[in-house]
Amino acid sequence: MEIENPPVNLSTVSTSMTSTDSLLSLSNGNNFVIQSQNGPGTDSLLDSSLQLGAAYERRDSLQFGAAYERRDSVDSTSFSLRPSFKQKFRAPMVKNVIRTIASQRLNNALYDKDQAPGWANEISREIKQKLIELDLKQYKYVVNVTIMENKAAGARIQLACSWDMDTDNVAYETFKNDSIVCVIMAFGVYFY
């Protein structure tokens, strides 16, 4: 987009203090609007000359700098380094999802060595699908389902991760009945 004559009258401009990205768009012909996304911030009207200067600077760096950093799997216009709270992988919410699916599928099921792999497969696919439908941006998911025969064997599962505690999380759930023990772990890992 070309900006030939900088507009004299600037209507509402809002900037966010903490956002790491911003969009420049020309709208309504002469109005200059700087929009920012994904940032909790305060709206404030800055000095108009300051806004104009900042806008031009930001625009150049967006065009040239951002292009080189663009990755295929992320939309370059709405890239952010940190998800807001609603956009985070929240363990209790995902736990509910897992619980419903597991109890639906395995209620009163008897362990069968030929059918068990199929069940594990279907459950993990269903949970992965539900996670994708949550529509959290920039998250990668790993869903692990283990189905064991309940024969009073001792067992223990331990988990360790090297990740970013702020954005990444795990939701796990155990489902037991008289013949089956099913452990489901769902991981959500943020992709910067």
Partner: protein, 135 residues
């Protein structure tokens, strides 16, 4: 009559296409999960922690489990790649029970990966899963 030789322009475009094709399939080792390397590390750690003839004791295995998992994560993080790791270790008694495990993943198949390492002793099974997700 033979086809005329490809023009210099066509030759150049073919070369650049081949080059950029190679370039796009180039996997940065600092960002890609290397299965073989990780398998070697896990094997070392498990074999040094669990001696071959040990019996299954519920009080003992929590210790082993913690050691295996912690050491694996530390060694993987020390590789200094831009990869996040998830390590799970399952130890269970040999009792005749059957077990099945599946994992589904929604990730970038070019750079992310996983390995599983299985270890048997006389009285128990050890399964270590490692997932690596590039940042």
């Amino acid at each position: 009559m033979e086809d005329p030789p490809p023009s210099r322009f066509e030759e150049l475009t073919q070369e650049t296409n081949r080059f950029s094709g190679e370039f796009s399939s180039f996997k940065d080792p600092k960002k890609t999960f290397n299965e073989d390397e990780v398998k070697i590390i896990v094997k070392e750690i498990v074999e040094s922690t669990i001696l071959q003839d040990s019996a299954y004791l519920h009080s003992r295995i929590s210790n082993w489990n913690a050691i295996i998992v912690e050491n694996t994560v530390k060694r993987l993080a020390a590789l200094n790649k831009s990869i996040k790791y998830i390590v799970t270790c399952t130890i269970f008694e040999k009792n005749g029970a059957g077990i099945h495990a599946t994992t589904t993943c929604h990730w970038d198949s070019k750079h992310d990966g996983s390995t599983t390492y299985r270890h048997d002793t006389n009285s128990m099974y050890v399964i270590v899963n490692v997932w690596g997700l590039s940042v």
